[in-house]
Symmetry: none
Subunit: 435 residues, 2 copies
């Protein structure tokens, strides 16, 4: 089944509002395997509404329209659809009675304007509105079923449950499609795509969607259709294959889990705690680690060491290191992590120091130069040098993303796998004995 | 000028994402009086993209398309538009060189997939992309100008400023409508609306829009049309009247300025520095204060004291205070601020401690109970007790919002004016002499 969503309302073409109703409808479509061809937003103009509907009739199986059924003169969805179908509008005595009763129950006289809400397109079925004054309409034209619903979310929801879902259920094969999600950290979209190429061949190009969020996370969505048993078997096979192809960079197959939540869970499983020492990320790493409820069981604290005096006094970074290597250096990153771990008594500590920009760059340390440090038990001291693209916000976010990934890799005992850390550019420090 | 916006991306037809880029474009259209005929969202399907473009060509003056210019095989906007126009695609040597250089600057080899980004529709002009790898395209067909831009907001913004706005400016009657913005912190929308009621009567209901972001900030927009001189005079009058009605809670009339930027500027003007001590906000306050470029001139550092040991050892909070009043108390908030100020040597220090939830609540300290502390020169020690609505994220954000507003009020010497700090519920602490 092929569908289109048409939202009517000039306010949805303005500078402030989006058609959020469509998300209520796409969730329903997804479940029943209804394919959405397009979404259109059109203003309160009869000719435009008519044109948009005309472009879709006969080509899609289902058009769901929302908005423009109210009583005011700019509510012209009925008129626009009638024009597209070449049908006329007739007042419906029963709707009129219902409207009048509704008003009299509230102790009001019905304004004349509301009489327009009783107009019905010839041949249409009236869709009751249990929670508002505007009834909906259902019309068939050729292969296309059209529903006209109000734009008020509560009213649209009521009609979706009472009328649209039963219609879709009986005209589709029932629940038809399920999704599995695989999330990947610290790899660019193009790298992930190269790795999963064999899965495209095996399962079909349309079965797999790749989505980059532009923030160091790629989301793979695997879609399976067929019977319940077939869907389940296929999703299991796809997730297993995709995970195998992408490798250890897969951090979760839970659609709602974030990288910081996964790191928090791994710390908890390991009975470990964490502290952070941040310069360029300015608190963002601590903030991400504390977003999750219950994070106080693994997160002890953080020191945002923006000024060098804070690095020396609160983290115990040797002033000579700052003098010799600069604040943005492998040596200082490691000293910050070691200092945070020692001072806050955590199992692990992560550190960030870098040039987020736009100021502060030098010839050999351009904007995007970032050093990450990791300190842990048994003298564990690791370091990564990064060259990150993006502006200030991007560099800050990606620094935390890669620091979290560095921690995750340590906890899962797999090697960090990212093109954003070109280690050859700087000498890898030897592991030193801990304090 | 009549325009249409086409967003390309199957993910925008899914259950999670909306085309938010269109709001960036409608703001521009609004300014130049460009009429938006419709918005369309279409999936990554060449035939569908071609059909949508075909329906618009020759009928609108401007089509702005976003998305589908990436390197992966589902990025087919170029192909769809070429098909609609009956033109072919040719690789552009210069774009290819630029792409390869971009990758080599980051120390990577360009994946073969990225070669597709060098394809240009015959007769199109290449639109440079200063911040990303995908260049845009500009094509003329009949009366219709088509722009193909990337879907990444930052990249789209860059091209909008550098290419789209100049094009619209020279093909429309110039700026037709101007807006002024007034931003208000720490007051609910309903309170702001009550205060500005006289301005609705004076300037007309349609001239003023009130928008709450649900995060402790209300934005008032004043709109003026007419000649440049008329617009300017009217906006000046409206801003002056609205600011007078709302009062000191107005923190800026710069549409792009954030509360943290305003606080940063005020600190800079005062030659003052700041440090923070955070518990429930987990680093968010430091993160907000360091978002602004150049914040290192006023922000020295922060201590995220999640564990009580961090509060005592890194901030010098007396363990007896924690024992007697609990970590979420006026006394601990003040001790945290005083400790951060002393240890980091800043002019001012802000602190937060509270119950962000969902766990940790007690009978007398429900979720949303937050204490803010402020320490400053001459023994300045202030405190606010808050009862904040919203879940974990909301409580954390609003705590930082009110802490920043507390700092701003101190720097502008005006009294904090917010219903979220019901001071009568807890005793106001006397100002004490410094440590």
């Amino acid at each position: 089944m092929l569908a289109a969503i048409v939202a009517v309302g000039s306010e949805l073409l303005g500078t402030e509002r989006l058609d959020t109703n469509s998300l209520r409808l796409t969730a329903l479509f997804d479940r029943y395997g209804v394919e959405l061809e397009r979404k259109v937003v059109v203003g309160d103009l009869e000719a435009e509404i008519s044109r948009v509907v005309g472009e879709l009739i006969g080509r899609v199986d289902l058009i769901v329209m929302s908005g423009g059924l109210g009583p005011t003169s700019d509510d012209v969805t009925r008129e626009g659809v009638a024009r597209a179908l070449g049908r006329s509008l007739t007042p419906d005595a029963e709707i009129l009675r219902g409207l009048e009763e509704r008003f009299s129950r509230l102790g009001w006289r019905m304004p004349d304007a509301n009489r327009r809400q009783a107009l019905v397109i010839d041949g249409a079925t009236v869709v009751p509105n249990p929670v508002g004054s505007a009834p909906g309409l259902a019309i068939r034209e050729d292969r296309t079923q059209i529903f006209l619903f109000p734009g008020v979310p509560r009213e649209l929801d009521g009609m979706t449950v009472a009328t649209l879902e039963p219609w879709i259920a009986s005209h589709s094969g029932g629940i038809a499609r399920e999704r599995a999600v695989i999330k990947v950290a610290a790899l660019p979209e193009s790298t992930v795509e190269e790795r999963i190429a064999p899965a495209y061949e095996e399962f079909g190009r349309e079965a797999i969607t790749i989505l980059a969020n532009g923030r160091g996370e790629v989301r793979l969505e695997a879609v399976a259709t067929g019977s319940s048993a077939e869907r389940s078997a296929r999703l299991t096979a796809m997730v297993s294959r995709l995970t195998g192809l992408v490798g250890d960079a897969v951090f979760t197959t839970d659609a709602d889990a974030t990288l910081e939540q996964v790191v928090g869970s791994l710390l908890e499983q390991a009975g470990a705690t964490i502290a952070v020492a941040e310069s360029c990320t300015g608190g963002l790493l601590a903030e991400r680690l504390t977003r999750t409820p219950g994070s106080s069981s693994t997160f002890l604290g953080g020191i945002v060491a923006y000024a060098n005096t804070v690095k020396t006094e609160q983290l115990g970074v040797d002033p000579a290191l700052l003098e010799r290597h600069g604040a943005v250096s492998a040596e200082v990153a490691i000293a910050m992590a070691a200092g945070a771990r020692e001072r806050m008594g955590s199992t692990y500590a992560l550190s960030t120091t870098g040039i987020a920009g736009p100021e502060g760059a030098t010839a050999d340390k351009p904007v995007g130069t970032v050093h990450l440090g990791l300190a842990g038990p048994d003298g564990l001291l690791e370091h990564r040098a990064l060259r990150l693209p993006g502006g200030r916000e991007g560099v800050r976010w990606m620094s935390t993303q890669l620091a979290l990934e560095m921690m995750r890799r340590q906890l899962t005992r797999s090697a960090l796998d990212t093109p954003w850390a070109p280690l050859h550019q700087l000498p890898q420090l030897p592991r030193e004995g801990g304090r």
